[in-house]
Symmetry: C2
Subunit: 323 residues, 2 copies
């Protein structure tokens, strides 16, 4: 059994614990938290304070760093990699080279292996972007997100005066998706690729027209998109918009010969974003444990992992049953 | 430059030559044929007789074996692997373990590397079956083929008395595709998964009703499917059904927690089946050349290949631009 620990027990940490329960070759041996360990209710995994992590050396094979990219992973990553093999979901795109370098140095010095930026984007979507372009070098790649909830955009609406609660869905523009698949020349801008659909609970007596105006004109978040604002009651929001679904698609369309287009589409429809992201982290942890056992050290990404290493099955079983 | 040779110049060999022309790090240095080399018109690659292949040792890095699974690849495979690194598209599913063992023995003895069963199914679809199940271990996987032309089914129709020409399209049943994506419990049988649409040119005076009866009742090929037969003129067949498009999709739907379903869909829409298959063989050849340069020998599949090895870009470029 591969012994896995979860570092940080927010939505993603919980999703990872659930994902581990679906495996037969991996077990969750600890959850590390900055909170009072006694206050944490897990699905069954033992809880320890993050300051006691060093006591687990030799008892844990891979630590899943489930903190946030902005605040946690940058500093946590190298610290934990000095003790354990690690997996994280670092997604601050501009800082990936820097994060990789920091983890690579720490892990090489400690003789551990650290896989960064697992999840679905970055993660599975990244893998498919590379696969699509490797197979169809002449063409173009587009990534569409949604239909799904954007926490950042939902939070931006909630900060507007008079808004009690809100949920924002990012929705791909279907005509543009189709044009990309067919390899047609289409302008890809924020507005042509995605639209934004908002469900807003206004405070009593609030000026709904003014709230709507502030949303649709908000720079960066909404002004560059076709945005629809729907006012709903708190009860409707709770009833119809409680989930955190997400997903999206990566499309590579390319010409093999003049006038002959092929396309590769990879689509995710996720009932729960953190549970699916946790599932990817867990599969990545399996690959890390195996590569680490073969003596690999330093930082890697999902680009460096084979499917044989991601799968619980042996190479023989894979050839016989999946090829 | 990675020096590639193509062994066998049918549809697939031609597709591979076109695919090589889209790369900047690979070149087609020879086409090997059993025919008179002077009779072959390539896109530009020099032609040699297959019996002279040994003269190319040291001048070719990877040979793409582009013969058929039934007649060629079983015997060619080990012979060529004794001289060169190789890639093939072996797709006789029941014989894959045997083919793998034969190539593995020949390649290990010769110190070469042989990647078998590249293409899209087996190949990319196989990769996605493993990826989907690795990430969502609790769930089910379904593969749908089409819309696309099946050469085998078209040939079966052409053998019927009174048929001058024919083309058969395999078409997935959309309601079943949707049910699988949503993780609904749906019976997967030949008839629920695919329908068959036939375009038939009857000889003058032929009994069309009898032709249709023979098609729809043909065991294995059509009897287990909902089959539609359309009679068309030779001109219409040439005008509307000249291409060899194909494609399909692999869907993995799984539950992360009770009542929460996520799905992973990988879809191919191929304007030309052989050109796309050739493109996959070429990307696989890049990975083979790199792994071989690192000293790997024996037989492998796409399951054993990382995206870093499939891509022309460096690991740094991939992390910076694709993650």
């Amino acid at each position: 059994m591969i012994r896995v620990a979860i570092n940080g027990y927010g939505n993603l940490g919980r999703g990872a614990e659930i994902a581990l329960s679906h495996t037969t070759d991996m077990e969750c041996v600890a959850v590390f938290t900055r909170r009072d360990p006694g206050s944490l209710v897990t699905q069954g995994a033992p809880v320890a304070h993050v300051s006691d992590m060093a006591d687990y050396v030799g008892k844990v094979d891979v630590v899943l760093n489930c903190g946030g990219s902005a605040s946690d992973l940058g500093t946590q990553g190298p610290q934990v990699a000095r003790m354990f093999d690690t997996v994280d979901s670092f997604d601050t795109h501009a800082k990936i080279p820097e994060h990789f370098a920091a983890l690579d140095a720490a892990a090489k010095e400690a003789g551990t292996l650290a896989l960064i930026s697992a999840g679905w984007d970055p993660g599975l979507f990244s893998m498919l972007r590379v696969l699509g372009e490797s197979v169809l070098p002449t063409g173009s790649t587009a990534t569409f997100w949604g239909p799904g909830v954007s926490q950042g955009h939902s939070d931006a609406i909630r900060r507007i005066d008079g808004v009690a609660d809100a949920k924002q869905y990012t929705v791909p523009v279907e005509e543009t998706v189709q044009a990309v698949k067919e390899g047609r020349d289409v302008e890809l801008t924020p507005r042509t690729m995605h639209k934004r659909v908002c469900y807003v609970v206004a405070e009593e007596g609030a000026d709904q027209a003014e709230i709507e105006r502030q949303i649709v004109t908000m720079p960066n978040y909404f002004a560059d998109y076709d945005t629809t604002v729907n006012f709903v009651s708190a009860g409707e929001l709770a009833r119809d918009h409680a989930g955190i679904p997400h997903g999206g698609q990566v499309i590579r369309a390319g010409q093999t010969s003049e006038g002959t287009t092929s396309s590769v589409t990879f689509q995710l429809d996720l009932g729960s974003n953190p549970e699916f992201t946790g599932s990817v982290l867990v599969a990545a942890a399996r690959a890390v444990a195996r590569k680490s056992a073969r003596g690999e050290t330093g930082a890697i990404t999902l680009f460096d992992v084979s499917l044989t290493d991601l799968s619980p099955h042996s190479a023989e079983e894979l050839r016989k049953n999946y090829l």
